[in-house]
Symmetry: C2
Subunit: 289 residues, 2 copies
C-alpha cells in the first residue's frame, strides 16, 4: 500500500522536466522516496471499512500526503525548526535553497487541492457534492484552526511550561487534525455511515492522532538520528514541551497503551471491517521510527 501511494504521487506530481524545472525537481525530491505514509495508509484503511473502491481513495490519500509533506518542508525552514535532516535526506532548503523550499511548500499545498478537485473519472468515485465536502474538510484540517494553527501554538510554546491539557490542545491541531482528516476522507470515499458509526469513527480518528503524537515524542526522546531519519532529541534541545517531558517516559508509554486500547474498543463495533484500521493502530503504536 505504501508502494501504491508512492506510485500515485509519482503520477500526480509534475514531471521534473516541465518548467519551472528546479521547482518541480524539488517538489519530487521532498514528496517521493521516503516517509511512512501514515496518512495515506489511514485513508485507505478507513476506506476499506466503508467498502470504498481503492482507486477512488488514491486521490484523497495523495492529497493528504501532499499537505503533510508541504508542512514538513516549511517546518524545517530556518525561521521555524531550522532542521537539516528529514526522511534520511538533507532538508529541502539545504539541498536546494530557502526560497525554493518556501515555494515547494506553497505549490504542494495547491497541488493537494488540485488533486482532490479533479473530476471523478467514473461513477464509483464519490459524487461532486461529497467531493466538495471532502475538500472543505481537508482545507479546514490544514488551515489556521487545524495544522497551521497547531504550528502557531507550537511556536508560542517554546520555553513555556504547558499543562497536559494545553499540550493536548496543541497536538489536536498540529498533527491530530490532518490524521483525523485522513480517516474521515477515506470513509467519505465509500458507503455512507450511519450517524452513530460516523461518530465512532471520528472518535477513533481523534484517539489515533493523539496516539501517533505520543509515540512520536517517545521515539524522539529515545531513538537516535540515524534510526529516525530526522534529528533526534530536537524537542528537548529546543526546549519544547512533549508528552515525555510532561509525564516522564513510563507514564507516556502507559498513556500510549491506553489510547491504543481505547482505539481498539471503539473499532470493535465494526467487526472485521475494521481489521486494517486495527492493524494500523498497532503499527502506529509499535513503530520504531
Amino acid at each position: 500500500m505504501q508502494q501504491r501511494s508512492e506510485e500515485t504521487l509519482e503520477r500526480l506530481l509534475p514531471a521534473a522536466d516541465i518548467a519551472p524545472q528546479r521547482l518541480h525537481q524539488a517538489m519530487r525530491y521532498v514528496a517521493l522516496g521516503g516517509g511512512k505514509r501514515i496518512r495515506p495508509l489511514l485513508c485507505h484503511a478507513a476506506g476499506a471499512l466503508c467498502q470504498a473502491d481503492p482507486a477512488a481513495l488514491d486521490r484523497s490519500a495523495a492529497a493528504l500526503e501532499l499537505i503533510h509533506v508541504y508542512s514538513l518542508v516549511h517546518d524545517d525552514l530556518p525561521c521555524m525548526d531550522d532542521d537539516v535532516l528529514r526522511r534520511g535526506k538533507p532538508t529541502c532548503h539545504v539541498e536546494f535553497d530557502e526560497a525554493t523550499a518556501l515555494l515547494v511548500g506553497d505549490a504542494l499545498q495547491s497541488l493537494a487541492f488540485q488533486v482532490l478537485a479533479e473530476q471523478p473519472p467514473n461513477a464509483d468515485t464519490p459524487a461532486a457534492a461529497r467531493q466538495l465536502e471532502m475538500l472543505h474538510l481537508l482545507a479546514q484540517a490544514a488551515g489556521s484552526r487545524g495544522m497551521a494553527g497547531g504550528q502557531a501554538i507550537d511556536l508560542a510554546a517554546v520555553d513555556q511550561q504547558l499543562s497536559l491539557a494545553e499540550l493536548e490542545f496543541m497536538h489536536i491541531h498540529k498533527t491530530g487534525a490532518l490524521i483525523r482528516a485522513a480517516v474521515l476522507l477515506g470513509a467519505a470515499c465509500g458507503q455512507p455511515l450511519a450517524s452513530a458509526d460516523q461518530q465512532r469513527l471520528d472518535h477513533y480518528a481523534k484517539r489515533v492522532g493523539l496516539l501517533f503524537q505520543i509515540v512520536d515524542d517517545i521515539l524522539d526522546s529515545e531513538a537516535d538520528t540515524a534510526t529516525l531519519g530526522k534529528t533526534a532529541g530536537k524537542d528537548a534541545a529546543n526546549n519544547k514541551p512533549t508528552y515525555v517531558s510532561l509525564l516522564g517516559l513510563s507514564q507516556a508509554r502507559e498513556k500510549a497503551a491506553e489510547l491504543r486500547a481505547e482505539a481498539h474498543t471503539t473499532l470493535s463495533h465494526f467487526g472485521d471491517r475494521a481489521r486494517r484500521l486495527n492493524e494500523l493502530t498497532d503499527y502506529i503504536c509499535n513503530r520504531h521510527f
Copy 2:
C-alpha cells in the same frame, strides 16, 4: 465593490480572539484594510457579463484575494524579496515575525480553498460539479504551473538577461494565472457561455493580466514609495528584468496602450454586458498606484 470585498473578507477570516489569536490577528492584518482588490473586481465584473448573482461571486472573489494576499506575504519574506513595506504598512514578518508570516501565508492559502469549497447555500449558486471545476482552476492557477511557478521563474531571473518572450513567460505565470482565474471564476458563477465566447473571455483575461504587469513595471520605475505603498524601484535595485528595463519606458507605455485596445476589441463582441470589464480595463491601465 471594494467595500463589498472588504466586508466579505472580514466575515470569512477567523476572528482575532479565536485561538491561535496571534496567527488570526496577523491574517487579518495582511488581508484587511488595503489593496486595490483587482482580482475581486475582475471576478465581479466577469460575473456581471454572465448575469451571475453578486452573492454567488463573493466567495470566489474572496478566495482569489486570499490567494493573492498569501503570495504577497511570502514574497515579502527575507528569503524572497525581503521587503519591509506593503499596502502602506510594515510587512507581516516585520510587524509580527518571520515564522508567523510563513504560517499566515500557509493558512490563507488553505482558507481560500475552504471558502470556495463551502456548500452553496441556495440554488442560485453554481452546482457542485461546477464548483469543483472552479476549485480545480484556482488550484492550478496558484500552483507550480501558475503563480508559485512564476515566483520560481522570477527567482531564477535575478541578474539574468531575459528575452521579451522569457519575461512574458514569467509574467503569464506569476501574475497572469491568478488574474485569468479571476475572470474565469467570475464567469463560472453565471450563465454558461458558448464555447467561442468562453474563448474570447479567456483571451481577454490573458491580455488584461499582461496589461496589469506592464503597468506595474511602469509604476515601479516612475512612482515613489509613498504613492505605491510598497517599496518603489525594487526591481531595478534587485537587478530583475522588467518591461521597462527591456523595452524602455516609452515602448512599455505603447505596449500597454496596445494591450488595452486589444482587450476592448475582444470585449466589444459582448456589447453592454462587458461594460464593467471595459471600465476595469481602463482603471488597470490608468492607475497611479
